[in-house]
Symmetry: C2
Subunit: 155 residues, 2 copies
């Protein structure tokens, strides 16, 4: 008695939405962004802007390119995003004197101060979750992302 399914079984259909790993990433990413939005709105940040702040809080004064490399974003996304953040007063953009091609992005005093408020964010977003489990998942996904960077499909 075989337990495998024949070709006409819809569960075998390779195009079923539920079978696509890519869709789980897509759905999760969108849903996560929606959950962060109201929390970050209190800091006057969108989710991608929050990521930029995380990068700058680690090391201030990085170039646009360095930030983009970290977040896997190009200048087409970052330049206007950073300009909006500059208008909001979180940071300043200035040409590097050493190499005029570069633009260094530096936090303002209020941008630095915002870090204190942001310290609550991870706690709020993971409240009630099993932290060990989340960390295991994070490590798994980190290796997936690493493979994706190399151009491997993986989804």
């Amino acid at each position: 008695m075989r337990t495998s399914l024949n070709a006409s079984d819809p569960r075998e259909d390779p195009l079923r939405l539920d079978r696509q790993l890519c869709f789980q990433f897509y759905a999760a990413s969108n849903l996560i962004g929606r959950l962060y939005a109201p929390v970050l709105a209190r800091l006057n940040l969108t989710y991608p802007q929050y990521l930029v702040m995380l990068v700058l809080w680690e090391e201030d004064g990085q170039s646009v390119g360095a930030i983009g490399k970290r977040l896997h974003l190009d200048t087409g996304t970052l330049t206007p995003l950073l300009k909006r953040m500059e208008t909001l007063g979180h940071l300043v953009r200035q040409r590097d004197r050493e190499d005029e091609r570069r633009v260094r992005v530096s936090l303002t005093a209020s941008g630095k101060a915002l870090r204190e408020e942001a310290l609550h964010v991870p706690e709020i977003m993971t409240r009630g979750q099993d932290l060990e489990e989340l960390d295991a998942l994070r490590r798994t996904l980190a290796s997936v992302v690493e493979a994706l960077k190399g151009g491997k499909a993986q989804a």
Copy 2:
């Protein structure tokens, strides 16, 4: 000799980018979209449009709301997206006679025919990967998405 880390250790910083599970989802989702783009371009589809096709290939003639529920997208995203797909000739949008509030989305002949070409896509994207492993990850992420739908942070 203690192995735990003190508060000043940067690895303990809750705001480190590398520690954010949310970022792994964000990065993976963006990178996946970028990998699919050239493959789907041959079918004249963007990645979100491909997802709509997956939904319609499963069941044709669904309402905008039903498609949105499946993909976790609202009409603000779907209406213009579906209009573009209609222009491209993949589908048609028509008011439901039974309930004039609804718009039914139906595949055209070419939209249905496109399914044959799309059959290669999952294979192309997962080539060289351990399918068992990908499926295990898919199931894990499906449960994460399920929790996120309920509003639980989880990231």
